[in-house]
Every structure is written in structure tokens, then in C-alpha cells.
Amino acid sequence: MGEIFNVLLLQTTLRSATPVVLAAMGCLLTQHVNMTNIGIDGMMLIGAFFAVLGSYFFGSWAAGLGLAILCGILLGLFYYVFVIKFGSDEFIIGVALNIFAGGLTVFLLRTVFQVKGAFSDPALVPLPTIHLPLIRHIPVLGQLLSGHTLLVYVSWALVLILWAFIYKTPAGVHLRASGEYPAALTACGKSPEKMKCFASVACGILACVAGAHLSLGYLTMFAENMSASRGYVAFACVIFGRGNPLIVFLAALLFGFIDALGLRLQNYIPSDLTAMAPYLVTVVMMVVVVLWERRKKKS
């Protein structure tokens, strides 16, 4: 058992939870303005691809990240224009976005890099690893908290920042109002549409940054369909946490833990079976949250 349950397991948990955390932070913003963004998975995929593209051609991780953020802004605006301006069905746009992303990234992978399946190259510059100055020397804690890539720390900071933003600032109240009761916001002389636009663009950026973390932080490569439904998992985490960044973060950590545990158990159980676990846990999570809410309503 000691081989499976040790500090490394927790470290892997933090690593594999990060893309989900980042994407979920974006998703919860759209959830608060009452937009359901199913397309996060596709946005992650596009972000992952363009991060690799930028890193490869400009020889810097910052360029990769920048390109991913640019894609995020464009995708967020696209989503906003189609869903709010044109009043399209969010579900259809989201699903179509995912298929579009799958097609686009594979098409570009094969035309730009001339490879099938996956692209990795020594010229790819990964995200920098950060060693925390004091904590790194503390035995267990140092191993656990230090030495992650940049975006891991960014994601932790984001959880706190978003929590403070959503629940403690006037702008956060406006954001929630634009989802819960837009008429009230209009009465205050604020525009719910602007809030929705902001949330949608922020969601695009975060989803693409999550993708960048997948392809430049978690791994240093781009593979076809590498987001592997993580965008949907992020969505489920948001539902589970009802939009509260702290609870959403915990849900994402749970996903990461199951994922990491599955990787560890591969020596004992066939990997195809362990790979199922995070997805089944997500289903269970969805059921639990619904039952929990029903019980609350009854009492």
C-alpha cells in the first residue's frame, strides 16, 4: 500500500487536477451569468494546440501562452456573439464548438506539423517550473507544493481571487445579478449583456489557458483529442460546487486524485478499467449533489 499512497500520489493529484481547475474557474463565471458553456472541452483543445504552435515557432513558452490567451478571447467573443447576440441554442453551439475544435486541431496538426496523432519536438519550450523559496526545504510540504509549473500556482491564486471577486466585490454582485435577475441590474443602470460578454471572454481565456497547461505544462506535446473530456469534467465540478470557486476546486482535486490513483494502480488493474474511474466518479458526483439538494429542500 505504501507504494501507492505516498506524497507522490498527492503531487500527481495536484498536477492532473490543474487543467480541470482552470477550466472550471472559467466555466463557473459563465454559470453565474446563466450561460451554460458545454464548449469548454473544445476551447481547451484549441488552446492546447495554439500554445504548442506559439512555443514551437517563437521558441518561448510566453508566446505559446499568449497565443492561447488570444484564442481564448476570440472563442469567448464568438461564443458570446452567437449565444447572446444571435440567441442560438447554447447546447448546439457548445457541441458544434467541440467538433469544430477536434477538426481544426487535427487539420492544422497535419498541415502545419505534417504529423498524425501527436506532435512533440525538442524545440518545444515548456512552461517554467517554479521552486518556492522557503517551502521547498520543508520535507513533505516542499515536495508537495514546490516544483510545479507556473500555471499550477496561477490556478490556486485564481481560486481565491475569483471567490473574493464573486462574493465580496460590487462587480461580483453585478455578475451574479446578470444571471439571476438581469432586470434588477438593468434598473441599476448596468448592462447584463456586458457582464455576460466579460464572463464569456474570461471563460474562453481560462479554458484555453487550461489547454496550454495540458500541452506545455502537464505534458510537452500536442496529441489529437488530448483534452479527453476534461472540459466536461470541469463542467460537472462547477455543477457540483454550485459555482463556489472553493468547492469547485475541491471537486476538481477529487477528480485529480482519482485520475492519479488510476495511474498508480495500473500495475495491479488493467489500465482501461482504471481510466474509467474519473468519469464514473463524476457521474456519482452529479447524483450526490442532486440528492443532497433535494434533502435540503425537504428540511
Binding site: I38, F82, K85, F86, G87, S88, D89, F91, I92, I93, V95, A96, L97, I99, F100, G102, G103, L104, V106, F107, R110, T111, A228, S229, Y232, V233, F235, A236, I239, P270, D272, L273, A275, M276, Y279, L280, T282, V283, M286, V287, V290, L291, R294
Partner: protein, 375 residues
């Protein structure tokens, strides 16, 4: 005689796709398809290809020869069944995104029956496999359906999660306990009984007698959705389930059954793929077929007849896209981009039209105001 001709015509007109697909919508569809082709041509130009030659090779590759046409028909069948599976659930307000997993379960169940049932004539094994596949697909759809009607657990997320889980599970079965022991076969389960597999209608193509099974299923679904009381009740439930409940429809039962029916159709697709093409369960039995079919259904607003017709068009793109890849070296994923552009436009179609109308109205008002000022 003239009179009877008129009557026949009138009857035919009444048979046209349901009213939801009005003329404006179809006009938009044509424009969207044209625009999507323009976008595709732009991408081709950027990549240094001649778009006209590429599109020509696309259509030739899909319709040019007897074999190509047969492949296109076979693809139409798969897409139409998947699209109908989506439609039948969506009409009752259930979004079954989990068809891919249901398809895998159907394919696996069929392969198991085909490989391990012995001592029965071929046709009986085929029939048994069909039933097993339909049951497997339906049962696998029952879980998210039940969670939805019983506890209102969002079915979009659960079905997507179960998709991935089901594919991993079937992969585990095919690589582990059920892996074939035949020599020279790298992957997949044991091969099914030879006499039970579906006959090819055109040699060397993908078109098999499975298309008759598909036609029967499609006809039943079309009748159910467009002509029966149940179909009407489903539509009521999908539009407003509380009103339907008030009107005496047992909405929960209806939603659950539509989900199960959807899963059964997906299971059927899995069986037809296994028995028609591969002769065993292989891990790559479906390449996101369900998602393609789902999109077709969405574009046609879950209209069964429209879905079937649109499937043919998407099949041309699909088969032709692969031919284009072989002849011109253009990745067939271009077709996915073209398809999703069509969907983006069609989803936004109403909104774009309103905003254009509004803009025209504003312009007109401005012009009139200017004219008044001039006077």
C-alpha cells in the same frame, strides 16, 4: 382525371416535412451550406490547393463509382440512424449525448452473441445478436434516463461521462478477457459466425443487407414521431413538460422510453457495424459516428425525414472527404470544419435573420426621417 391528380398532389404536399422546417429555414440552410463551402475553400486556398478541383474530387469520390456510391449509402444509414436516435430523445426533451457509448455496448453485445452462440442457424444468430445489441444499447441509456426523470440529474453530463467510461470498458473487454486467440489478428474479440454476418450488396463496399434493417427501423421511428399519438405526446413533453403533464401525458414514462429507444437505435448501429464490416468487435468500431449523426439531427431540428435527407449530404461530405485525402492529400478533418460551420450558421440562423431585419428597419426609418427633414 385532373381532379385526381390534384388530390394526389395534395396528399403528397401533406406528406412534406413537418411545419417546423419552414421555407425560410430551408433557404437559410442552403445559404449556410454555401457559406461553409466558401470557408472550406478559403482554408484550401491558404493551404495552397485549388478549391474547385478539391471539391470536384470530393463529389466524384462520393458518387463517382458504384462502389463509392454504395459506401456513401452505407454511411448515410449510419448517420441517419444516429440522427434519428438523437431526434427521438430530443423530441421528448432528453439530450442523449451518450449514443457513442450505447453504440459500443451494442457492438460488443452483438459480437459476443455472434462469437459464442453455437449450434443455431446463421439467421437465428443474426436475429439474436440484433436483439442483444438493441437491449444492450437500450439498457445503457436507461441509467442516465432514469437518473434524469427520477432525480433531474443533468443527462448531458452523465451521458458524456458514460460514453468515455463505456468505450474504456469495451476496450478492456476486447484487450483482456475476450481477446481473440486467432493467429495473425492483433486486436478485437473472437470472430463472429461466418453464416451470421450480413451479406455485401455491392462487392468490396461497405453496403450490406444491414441497410434493410436500418430502413425498417427508420420507418418505424418516422411513423412514431410524425404520425402517432405517442409522437405528438413526445413533442408536447419536449416543448413544455408541465403542460403535457397537465394534459394527461405521463411525461416521466415517455421521457424514459424515448431515451431507451434512442439507446436501442444506437445499439442497432453497433450491431450493423460489427456484423456488416468488421466481423468482430474492434476498438475502433465507431469514429464518433454518433456525434456526426447528432449534428445532422440538430441542423434539421430533429425532424425525422429531414434528418434522413441531410444524412445523405453529410455522408457525401464524409466519404468524399476521405477520397479527397487520398487523391489530393488534404486532411479529411477539413470536412469536420465545414460541417461545424454549417451548424454554427444554422444555430444562429434565426438570430442573424432578426438582426438583419432590425438593421434594415433602422436604415429605412433613418432614410424616412432624412426625407422628412429635407421636406
Amino acid at each position: 382525371m385532373n381532379n385526381s391528380l390534384m388530390q394526389t398532389l395534395r396528399a403528397l404536399v401533406r406528406l412534406k416535412p413537418s411545419k417546423k422546417l419552414e421555407r425560410d429555414y430551408l433557404v437559410s440552410l442552403v445559404i449556410a451550406v454555401a457559406l461553409a463551402f466558401v470557408v472550406g475553400a478559403g482554408i484550401l486556398l491558404i493551404c495552397g490547393h485549388n478549391p474547385i478541383a478539391c471539391y470536384a474530387s470530393l463529389f466524384k469520390g462520393a458518387l463517382g463509382t458504384k462502389r463509392a456510391f454504395a459506401n456513401t449509402l452505407a454511411k448515410t444509414m449510419t448517420l441517419a440512424l444516429c440522427g434519428l436516435a438523437m431526434s427521438v430523445a430530443a423530441k421528448a426533451g432528453m439530450f442523449n449525448v451518450g449514443g457513442e457509448g450505447q453504440l459500443y455496448f451494442g457492438a460488443m453485445a452483438a459480437a459476443i452473441v455472434g462469437a459464442y452462440v453455437k449450434g443455431l442457424p446463421g439467421w437465428a444468430v443474426t436475429l439474436l445478436a440484433l436483439l442483444a445489441a438493441v437491449a444492450a444499447g437500450g439498457l445503457f441509456a436507461l441509467l442516465p434516463g432514469w437518473l434524469k426523470v427520477q432525480w433531474k440529474v443533468d443527462e448531458v453530463i452523465t451521458t458524456i461521462m458514460l460514453n468515455t467510461a463505456a468505450i474504456y470498458f469495451c476496450t478492456y473487454l476486447a484487450n483482456g478477457p475476450l481477446k481473440t486467440t486467432e493467429k495473425g489478428i492483433a486486436q478485437g474479440t473472437a470472430s463472429i459466425m461466418k453464416e451470421a454476418s450480413l451479406q455485401k450488396l455491392v462487392p468490396l463496399s461497405n453496403l450490406t443487407t444491414g441497410i434493410f434493417y436500418a430502413a425498417v427501423a427508420a420507418l418505424l421511428i418516422w411513423y412514431l414521431m410524425s404520425r402517432s399519438t405517442t409522437g405528438f405526446e413526445m413533442k408536447l413533453t419536449g416543448n413544455n413538460d408541465r403542460f403535457a403533464l397537465y394534459g394527461g401525458v405521463s411525461t416521466k414514462k415517455l421521457m424514459l422510453w424515448s431515451m431507451v429507444l434512442s439507446g436501442m437505435l444506437c445499439g442497432l448501429v453497433g450491431m450493423l457495424e460489427t456484423f456488416g464490416l468488421h466481423g468482430r468487435f474492434i476498438v475502433s468500431v465507431s469514429n464518433e459516428f454518433y456525434f456526426d449523426g447528432m449534428l445532422v439531427a440538430m441542423i434539421m431540428r430533429y425532424n425525422p425525414l429531414g434528418t434522413m435527407l441531410m444524412s445523405f449530404f453529410f455522408a457525401i461530405l464524409n466519404i468524399g472527404g476521405r477520397a479527397m485525402e487520398r487523391s489530393a492529400g488534404i486532411p479529411s478533418e477539413l470536412i469536420l470544419i465545414v460541417q461545424s460551420v454549417i451548424i454554427f450558421f444554422m444555430a444562429a440562423e434565426g438570430g442573424i435573420r432578426t438582426s438583419l431585419k432590425n438593421r434594415a428597419a433602422v436604415r429605412k426609418a433613418r432614410r424616412e426621417a432624412a426625407r422628412k427633414e429635407a421636406v
